[in-house]
Symmetry: C2
Subunit: 400 residues, 2 copies
C-alpha cells in the first residue's frame, strides 16, 4: 500500500512512518518542520536527541534497506500539497500535520488563531486535494479523545443513538472540547464528515487518547532513528512528563485534585492503530470514528504509578497538587468506549511496571538535558495572554 504520512517528522508521525515502511508499505513523509521551530520558540528541547529528517531517513535506508521518500513543505500551501498527492499517488493519507498542544493554543490570541487556522485550513486543503487528485484515497485523520470533553454519560465512538420525543436518530456525538486546540479538532471532524457526504471521500477519524512512551521496535534499531520525547509543560504529555520529573526527583506536578480521567495508549499501539485503519479502509462516502486508546487512568493514578516506579529505581519522588492551570472538571464520570480498533485486531500494550521503569530510565540517561524551567505550567486557561517568555532564565517559577 502507498501511504503518505503528513507530519511524519513528529512524535507520532515518525514512528508511524517507520512501522508502516517496515511492514512492506511504500511510505512517504511530508513535513514542514514547524514542530521543530516551536521548540525554539518555547526554549524547549526533546529529552532524547533527535536527528534531522534527512539523517533519519538515511539511517533507515542503511539499517533496513527501505526507502522513505520525503517532501518538505507546509500543507497550508495548496500547490505543495497538490504536487505531493500527484507525485506520490497514495492509497492512504495519514494526517498528523497539526498543532497538537492544548497549552500552546491557549498562550494568547495569536496562538489560538494560529492553532485553529493551521489545523482547519490544513485539513480543508487535504480534503480538497484528495477530492481533486486522488478521490479514492483513504484519509486517516488524527483527532483526539479531548473532542468529547467529560460528559456525564458514556462516550461512544463518534456517533450516538438518541431517542427523543418518541423518535430516534443516530447523530454525531456532542462535543465539549476543552481548549482552542481541542476545538480545532472538533472543527476538523465536522468538516471531514461533510466532505465524506458531499464528495464521497472515505475517512477515518481516530480520536486518540494521550500517548506515552517513545520507543518502538523500529526507532530502537539505530541511534539515528530515536523518537522525540517531550516533557515541557506545553508539549509534554502527562505520563512522559511525570517520568522526567521522577528521574530528576522533582515532585510530580498533578493539576488540582488529579481526578481528571482520560484515555491513554502506548506509542507502539498508536502505530499499530494507524496500520489497522489503513488495512481496513472506510468505504466511499463513509466517515468513521474510532476511539484510539487502550486504558483509562486519572492523572493522580498515573502519578502514583510513576512514584512507585521511581521508588523501585531508588528515586525520591513526591507528588505536588498544584492549582489547575486549565478550566476542567477535577472529578467527573468517565467511561469511553474503545472496541472498534480491538475488533480490527489491536492487541494493546497495557501500561506495565517494565514500561514505566524503561521510561524513567530513559529520562535518567538524559538527565543532563532536562531543563527544570520547563516543568511548571505557565499557560493559564483563565488568561487571554500568558507571557511565557517573560521570566528570566534559570529562575524557578510557580504556576501563574
Amino acid at each position: 500500500m502507498r501511504i503518505l504520512v503528513l507530519g511524519g517528522d513528529g512524535y507520532c508521525g515518525w514512528p508511524t512512518a517507520l512501522y508502516l515502511s517496515n511492514r512492506d508499505n511504500e511510505v512517504a513523509i511530508a513535513d514542514s518542520f514547524t514542530r521543530r521551530t516551536w521548540d525554539h520558540e518555547l526554549g524547549a528541547q526533546t529529552l532524547t536527541p533527535i536527528r534531522p529528517l534527512t539523517e533519519r531517513l538515511r539511517a533507515w535506508e542503511r539499517v533496513t534497506g527501505r526507502v522513505i521518500e520525503s517532501f518538505v513543505g507546509d500543507i497550508l500551501d495548496y500547490e505543495f500539497l497538490s504536487n505531493v498527492l500527484q507525485a506520490f499517488s497514495p492509497d492512504a493519507v495519514v494526517h498528523f500535520a497539526e498543532q497538537r498542544s492544548a497549552p500552546y493554543s491557549m498562550i494568547d490570541r495569536q496562538h489560538a488563531v494560529f492553532s485553529q487556522v493551521n489545523n482547519v485550513v490544513g485539513t480543508l486543503n487535504v480534503l480538497f486535494a484528495i477530492k481533486e487528485f486522488q478521490p479514492d484515497c483513504h484519509l486517516v485523520k488524527l483527532g483526539t479523545m479531548g473532542e468529547y470533553g467529560t460528559p456525564n454519560i458514556d462516550i461512544e465512538e463518534g456517533f450516538i443513538r438518541i431517542q427523543h420525543n418518541g423518535r430516534e436518530d443516530v447523530l454525531p456525538y456532542p462535543k465539549q472540547p476543552g481548549s482552542f486546540y481541542h476545538l480545532s479538532k472538533v472543527h476538523d471532524s465536522h468538516n471531514i464528515h461533510f466532505c465524506c457526504k458531499v464528495w464521497g471521500i472515505r475517512a477515518t477519524d481516530l480520536n486518540q487518547g494521550v500517548v506515552y512512551g517513545t520507543v518502538t521496535d523500529e526507532t530502537s534499531l539505530d541511534e539515528a532513528l530515536v523518537n522525540r520525547f517531550d516533557y515541557d509543560e506545553v508539549f509534554g504529555t502527562a505520563l512522559n512528563r511525570f517520568c522526567v520529573q521522577a528521574a530528576i526527583e522533582h515532585p510530580l506536578t498533578v493539576y488540582g485534585k488529579g481526578g481528571q480521567t482520560r484515555g491513554f495508549l502506548d506509542i507502539r499501539d498508536t502505530v499499530r492503530c494507524i496500520e489497522l485503519a489503513c488495512l481496513n479502509p472506510a468505504v466511499r462516502g463513509e466517515f468513521r470514528v474510532f476511539n484510539q486508546f487502550t486504558e483509562q487512568f486519572s492523572v493522580l493514578e498515573l502519578a502514583e504509578m510513576v512514584q512507585v516506579a521511581g521508588k523501585r529505581l531508588g528515586l525520591d519522588v513526591g507528588i505536588d497538587h498544584i492549582p489547575d492551570p486549565r478550566v476542567e472538571a477535577e472529578e467527573h464520570y468517565y467511561n469511553a468506549k474503545h472496541t472498534k480498533l480491538a475488533e480490527l485486531g489491536l492487541t494493546p500494550h497495557l501500561l506495565s511496571e517494565s514500561l514505566l521503569d524503561s521510561l524513567v530510565n530513559i529520562a535518567m540517561q538524559n538527565r543532563d538535558r532536562v531543563d527544570q524551567n520547563l516543568l511548571m505550567p505557565r499557560v493559564n486557561w483563565r488568561n487571554s495572554r500568558n507571557d511565557r517568555r517573560s521570566k528570566p532564565a534559570g529562575v524557578a517559577v510557580a504556576a501563574d
Copy 2:
C-alpha cells in the same frame, strides 16, 4: 444601552442598527464593506438601490435626529477591533460580520477557506476583545438554523437532554451543517461556548432561520435608508428570489423535489429578536442558544405561495423543479423548537398575502435592475471547483 453592530451595513445589520437606534439605544456600526465587494466579484447587485454608509447615516440623522457612529475596518484586524471596543465601550456587541452565503462558500477551495477563516477568526477576535477590553459586554452572535441540519428527531434550542445506558446529561445539540459556510457557524458556536466557560463571557447564539422581506419601519422613512434585497443564486434567500422571479415571469426555481423544510422569519422579526436578546442578556459565563425563526415551510410550499401572489397581481408564474445543486435531503422530518424568543416577548409577523404582494411589487418596481443571468444555480455542491464567471454575459445557463 450602548450597542455595537458588527456588519451593520449588511442586509440584517443595517435595519437592526436603525431599529435599535430608534428605540433610544446608543448605536455604533463597524463594517468593512466586504459584502459590497462580493457584489462586484459576483457581478450582482442588490435589487433595491442602496446608498453608501455615510449617506445612509447622514439621512438617518436628518430624518430622526439620531446619530449612529461608524467605524470602518475589518474585525480580522485585531488592532482595529480592540480600538473600537475601547472607544465605544458597548454593553452589547451584535455580531453580523460574517460571510453568510452557503453557495459562496462552496464555489471552490479559496472560497471555502476564506469563509471559514473569515468567520472563525473574526469571532475569535471578538471573543478575545471582549475578554480583554469589555469583559461584562454581552455578545449577541448570529448563528443559523442550518447548523442543525435535518435530524430525524425534534430540533431543540442549542442543547438536548440525552438518556444513555442508564445515565443522563444535557449536552450541545448534535450538528450536521450542510455547507462550508454552515460549518463555520458550527465552529463559531463551539468556540463561543468554550470562551463562556473559561472566561465568563456572556453570549447568546441566535440560530436564525431564512430571512425574507427588506422593509422595516425605519428603512421606509427615507429613500436613502432603503435596505438591500438580494435575489442572485449566491446571496439571494429563497423567498426573496422567488418574488423577483415572479415579477419578471421567470419560472420559480425549486431545487429538486422542494420538500426541503426550513425555518423562516420576516426581517422585521430579525430586528426585534436582536433587541429582545440585548434587553435580556445572558448572565456571566452563560452560553445561551435561541432558535430565531417564526414558521416552517418547505421550499415548494413557498414557491406555491409566491405563484398564487403572482396570479393576484396578473403575473404568469410557473414552477420549475431543477436538479438540486446542493447535497441535501429533498424530503425529511423537520420539527424545530422556537419558544425562547416568544417567551421573551416576540410577536411574529407571520408570512401573509399582503407581505408577499408587497415583495413582488418591490420586485416589479425594480424590474429593470434584474439580471436574469444571476437566477440559475451555478454552484454545485458535488464539485470542488465551480467556475461561476466562465460563461459569457447575456447567455442563459442551466445548472451545472
